[in-house]
């Protein structure tokens, strides 16, 4: 019970400090609320999981597998519903170029740092390869959580917030695609197997997405749309578990197919909206379940990689964003909001634990969960600092 107790005390101290000294404005209050919300399921997972009471037996884990697969796939489908093939075409070419450059830049930088870090922690070669990729993917995405702050920042118009949302969405899209391409490496035995796996999942996603779109077109009630979408999610996610596909990518492609059809697009997006938050919290709960602390790697992953990510993000935004996309003189608020990790982090962490149940994956996925929460805490600190300036 040592780990939950240490974490609980640490969390409480951080919360108290932030509440007393930093949470002053409406924007920070909202982010603080967000911090508390994401911390509760994570801590609940830690208490129920292997580090705590160990209530989640193997049998129970198997029984709750459909829920987990559903939650993983949900992230991909929801992303896909917002980024149909047509939508991507409509985006400004500069924004797309920026998102691609940024993702590539971040991915390369963080991958190198992750490999060095895991090598220094004496991880086995295979764990370094896979763990490094997962760590990097989780840290590459730009978080849309910053919109909570940007919305309240009067200096910037809503069109700016929309632009940032688009960039963050595209960055998530690239992350899922990269994740989908790279994650089969963990299960593929040869190159042809790897390529076949990728092709098969895209093909299946196109077929199931088209079938569900046809089904949705015949529906005249919101409930019918919900049923079709939930079934698609469950079938796709089940297949990805069975055949070793990536649940995010397969559902992303299906979502894109449905979105590209254009039929009741808004209603389809709204149907799944109430599930967004519970799914993220559920994934955080699972991340907490498998948490294992490493004497120095966990503390290194959390502040070290977040700091590195922040520096790379800052550099990338200064270099690419202002010059090509938008002539913004003052980019400090964006930089402040680049601290929190992307919403895909818990999904990536849980997927790592699904494909490898080793201690090392527990350390990495637990570290990612902690980093996700720490991102919010750091964001509050930075906003407070900005306000002082």
């Amino acid at each position: 019970m040592g780990t939950p107790l240490i974490l609980c005390v640490t969390f409480l101290m951080v919360f108290l400090f932030l509440r007393v000294f930093c949470v002053r404005t409406e924007a920070t209050r909202e982010i603080f609320r967000e911090l508390v919300i994401v911390s509760i399921p994570f801590m609940a997972g830690v208490y129920v999981g292997v580090s705590g009471l160990d209530l989640m037996t193997d049998e129970l884990m198997v029984q709750t597998l459909p829920l987990l697969e559903f939650s993983l796939g949900f992230q991909g489908l929801y992303w896909g519903l917002f980024f149909g093939f047509r939508d991507i075409r409509y985006f400004d070419v500069n924004i797309k170029r920026f998102a691609a450059l940024h993702s590539f830049f971040m991915f390369t930088g963080i991958l190198a740092a992750s490999y060095i870090l895991l090598y220094l922690a004496h991880f086995p070669a295979w764990e370094i390869l896979i763990g490094g990729i997962y760590l990097t993917l989780a840290l590459t995405q730009i978080s849309s959580a910053s919109l909570l702050f940007l919305k309240k920042f009067r200096k910037h118009s809503s069109s700016f917030a929309f632009l940032f949302k688009t960039v963050s969405g595209l960055s998530g899209l690239f992350t899922i695609i990269l994740f989908g391409i790279l994650s089969p490496m963990g299960i593929s035995t040869s190159m042809p197997h790897f390529v076949l796996n990728l092709l098969a999942q895209v093909l299946i996603a196109l077929v199931t997405g088209s079938l569900v779109y046809m089904g949705i077109k015949k529906v005249n009630q919101g409930e019918g749309i919900l049923i079709w979408l939930l079934s698609l999610l469950l079938i796709n996610s089940g297949m990805s578990y069975f055949f070793g596909f990536n649940p995010l990518l397969i559902n992303l492609v299906s979502g894109m197919v449905i979105s590209s059809g254009g039929f009741r697009k808004q209603q389809i997006q709204d149907t799944l909206k109430p599930l967004v938050r519970p799914v993220i919290l559920f994934l955080l709960f699972y991340t907490g379940l498998s948490l294992k602390l490493h004497p120095w790697l966990t503390p290194a992953i959390v502040p070290g990689l977040i700091l590195l990510r922040f520096i790379l993000n800052r550099w990338s935004f200064r270099r690419f964003f202002t010059k090509q996309v938008m002539q913004v003189e003052e980019i400090r608020p964006i930089l402040t909001s680049l601290i929190p990790l992307g919403v895909l982090t818990p999904a990536i962490a849980v997927h790592l634990h699904l494909i490898s149940s080793s201690v090392y994956s527990g350390i990495i996925s637990g570290g990612l969960g902690l980093a996700y929460i720490a991102g919010y805490a750091l964001m509050i600190l930075l906003i407070q600092w900005e306000v002082h300036r």
Binding site: V48, P66, L67, L211, M214, G224, I227, L234, I235, P274
Partner: protein, 427 residues
């Protein structure tokens, strides 16, 4: 078109299973794929079946029967086992929803008369069962065991099973029908409150089962355990309800997540009885809703999005019931069914007619309390493990078949009743 898509999906699944068998791969269907197929197929069939008399629910049940182990065996017994947690989760969600939909304060005038309706149902069914158990062994030789020393136990157990209804069925039929809200609330409140009251004897039953020794039950220990379980029901429901109220006040949309976590933790801790959990979730639902605007909104939200729960729950329930017919048990099954139907009708009509305001609904509604499902099956499974009572399995088989019959016949009757009341109101 929808049928075609389902045929394609089911065909692909069956094909993949055959292929797996051919390639010596595991043939068990992934629970997620199975759940997805059940969800969409059950819904499509439910929608096709739905009309003025038949609710969607009947479609889900028929689909469950068709694909279950007793039907085409597309969902095997091991598949059902792999979805046990999902079924449990949905069961608890429904208990929470039933508790949350209890509207005693809104319709205070008729709420006072619900106990009379409940007592009427229980009284006539006890009388009916007593008479039946006196007559049956005389008329039918195979039921001579009903005359044994365990007869009081049989009578009590059968009465409790017969008196129990299905809040889930009422919730499901209610949501499709646009008949007067007041009547819908009357049916739901009566069935939910009856279920909550009946859970207590079954909880006692389970406790007695635990306290059984070779010399008989240890009453002191049984009493203490019962008190402990009762306390745990109050504690769990109060803790859950108050925590959910707190979360609702601060977080709202994420509440459903916390509810699921509660369910997972309670499912993981296998020492808790099913009736205890059902009662706890019902009470938690009441606490969340009571005097709370956001609570009411939350219950409404869940209710609005609850169709997938009903599809999966009723399809799995129908697939899980062993509905094979043993010829020697058919007479008792028919007699029990007729007795229950006639007595429920008679008592409901009698009570509602005396109650002038609702007298117009007396005749149609008297057919509306027939449904039985998950909760009753849970009671039967608890009682069936009671040791040292001869021929209990036969009685349990008959009662399971009776539940199955009521599950098939009850929802259309309720739907028809609500439709006729709606017509009466309109004209």
């Amino acid at each position: 078109m929808s049928f075609l898509i389902i045929l394609i999906l089911t065909g692909l699944t069956v094909g993949s299973q055959y292929l797996s068998r051919y390639l010596n791969l595991p043939t068990d269907l992934n629970p997620s794929i199975l759940l997805g197929l059940i969800l969409v197929s059950g819904w499509v069939i439910g929608r096709s079946v739905k009309n003025k008399t038949l609710p969607m629910l009947t479609g889900f049940i028929l689909y469950g029967m068709l694909v279950g182990p007793e039907g085409l065996n597309l969902i095997t017994a091991s598949d059902l086992e792999s979805l046990e947690f999902i079924r449990f989760m949905i069961f608890m969600m429904m208990a929470f929803l039933a508790g949350g939909r209890l509207e005693l304060k809104v319709y205070r005038d008729f709420s006072k008369k619900i106990p009379l309706l409940m007592a009427g149902h229980l009284g006539v069914l006890l009388l009916g069962t007593l008479l039946l158990f006196l007559i049956l062994p005389v008329l039918f030789h195979p039921f001579a065991f009903l005359k044994s020393s365990h007869a009081p136990f049989y009578i009590l157990f059968t009465t409790l099973v017969l008196a129990s209804g299905s809040p889930a069925v009422v919730l499901s039929v209610n949501r499709e029908n646009v008949s007067p809200v007041r009547i819908k609330a009357l049916v739901l409140n009566t069935v939910t409150l009856t279920s909550m009251v009946l859970i207590l004897p079954f909880l006692g039953h389970g406790v007695l089962l635990q306290a059984m020794t070779s010399k008989g039950p240890e009453w002191a220990q049984a009493f203490l355990t019962f008190a402990f379980h009762l306390f745990s029901v109050i504690f769990v429901s109060a803790a859950m309800g108050l925590l959910l109220r707190f979360f609702l006040k601060h977080f709202r949309g994420e509440l459903i997540f916390f509810l699921i976590i509660f369910i997972i933790v309670l499912y993981g801790n296998g020492d808790i009885y099913m009736p205890e959990l059902i009662l706890s979730f019902m009470l938690a639902g009441i606490i969340v809703r009571h005097h709370s605007g956001p609570g009411k909104g939350f219950i409404k939200d869940i209710s609005r999005h609850s169709l997938p729960f009903f599809v999966v729950f009723f399809t799995l329930t129908a697939a899980g019931i062993r509905w094979f017919f043993i010829p020697s048990l058919i007479p008792i099954l028919l007699v029990l069914f007729t007795m229950r139907y006639v007595f429920l009708r008679f008592s409901t009509e009698l009570i509602l007619r005396r109650w002038r305001e609702e007298s117009f609904a007396a005749r149609p509604l008297s057919r509306g309390f027939v449904s039985q499902s998950g909760l009753t099956l849970c009671f039967i499974s608890i009682a069936s493990s009671f040791p040292g009572i001869s021929h209990l399995q036969e009685l349990c088989t008959v009662l399971t078949l009776l539940v199955f019959l009521n599950l098939l016949i009850g929802p259309p009757l309720l739907q028809r009743a609500l439709y006729r009341i709606k017509l009466f109101r309109e004209t």
